[in-house]
């Protein structure tokens, strides 16, 4: 076994165990903390894929922003759901069966595909990859339009989140 395979296997075990705990622990705050561990493991996988930029983005956006948002939401809604009550609905057995079957089908399909055992064509990623990525995001012949659409999406989501989430004092009077 080579070193990167060992790192991959350890990270994969950590990510999968943390993901299982995210969907199964009764306390929501613990689920949010396990989600942070799973996201950090995914960042390690990005490093193994030689996509260092995305490892940094994963840490900043997912662990830094999304996980903090989720923890805030969990704390704001703490009393709504007693932590030792039932956390899974009546479909949970069926959901487990469906997801196991989905995993069996997906992995069977992947293992029967010839290209699945491929190794990277070039052993090293070109050092200018990040420069090319940045230039293609600002190039009208490249991905300028999707980039601008994504920024409009983020702006709209921000405005929408503020509008939905604020206290509606004016609307209370008609109740």
């Amino acid at each position: 076994m080579i070193l990167d395979q060992v790192i991959f296997l350890v990270t994969a075990v950590v990510v999968l165990a943390a993901a299982v705990l995210v969907v199964s622990v009764p306390k929501m705050i613990h689920a949010a903390l396990w989600l942070i561990l799973a996201l950090a493991g995914v960042a390690v996988l990005f490093v193994l894929l030689q996509a260092g930029f995305f490892a940094v983005v994963q840490v900043i956006v997912y662990i830094g922003a999304i996980a903090v948002l989720v923890i805030f939401a969990v704390m704001l809604t703490r009393k709504a759901m007693v932590d030792d009550g039932p956390q899974l609905n009546r479909y949970s057995v069926m959901a487990g069966a469906v997801s196991l079957m989905m995993f069996a089908a997906l992995s069977g399909m992947l293992l029967s595909w010839d290209g699945a055992n491929a190794l990277p064509a070039n052993p090293a990623v070109h050092p200018d990859t990040i420069v090319n990525l940045g230039e293609s995001l600002t190039n009208p012949q490249g991905f300028l339009l999707p980039f601008e659409v994504a920024s409009i999406l983020l702006l709209a989501a921000l405005v929408g989140a503020i509008f939905i989430g604020r206290e509606q004092r004016a609307g209370r009077e008609e109740e």
Binding site: I2, D4, F8, A12, V15, V20, V23, M28, A31, A32, L35, V42, L45, F46, L49, Q50, A51, F54, V57, Q58, V61, Y62, A65, I66, L69, V70, A73, L76, T77, K79, A80, M81, Q87, L88, Y91, A95, V98, S99, M102, L110, L111, A116, N117, A118, P120, N122, P123, V125, H126, T129, N132, S136, L137, P146, A150, L153, L154, A157, A161, I164
Partner: protein, 102 residues
């Protein structure tokens, strides 16, 4: 070197765990955590295919950026909706909010 199939199997497992969480958790925020797991599995897949099949182009990386953007927008709007629902009816259980059910 790590074969491509290892990444694909890992992200398949991650997607299935996320789907289980989305279907079976009662807490609406826990369902959002399942969606996060699914989107992370998508990112692993996109970057693995970029690294193993198409390392000279940037398309796979641009797609990953779009997925991360959509995930951030989804979490912001989703959590705002759940907090508004909680403020109005003191409940965070997804099946309690069934006005739109036919």
């Amino acid at each position: 070197m790590i074969p491509l199939s290892w990444y694909l199997i890992l992200s398949a497992a991650l997607v299935c765990i996320g789907v289980f969480g989305v279907i079976s958790r009662r807490n609406a925020i826990a369902m959002l955590l399942g969606v996060e797991l699914i989107l992370n599995a998508v990112n692993i897949n996109l970057l693995a295919f970029w690294r193993y099949k198409d390392v000279s182009s940037v398309t796979g990386q641009v797609f990953t950026i779009m997925v991360i953007t959509a995930a951030a927008a989804e979490v912001a709007v989703g959590l705002a909706i759940f907090i508004a629902v909680y403020r109005n009816r003191r409940s965070i259980v997804a099946e309690d909010v069934a006005e739109l059910k036919g």
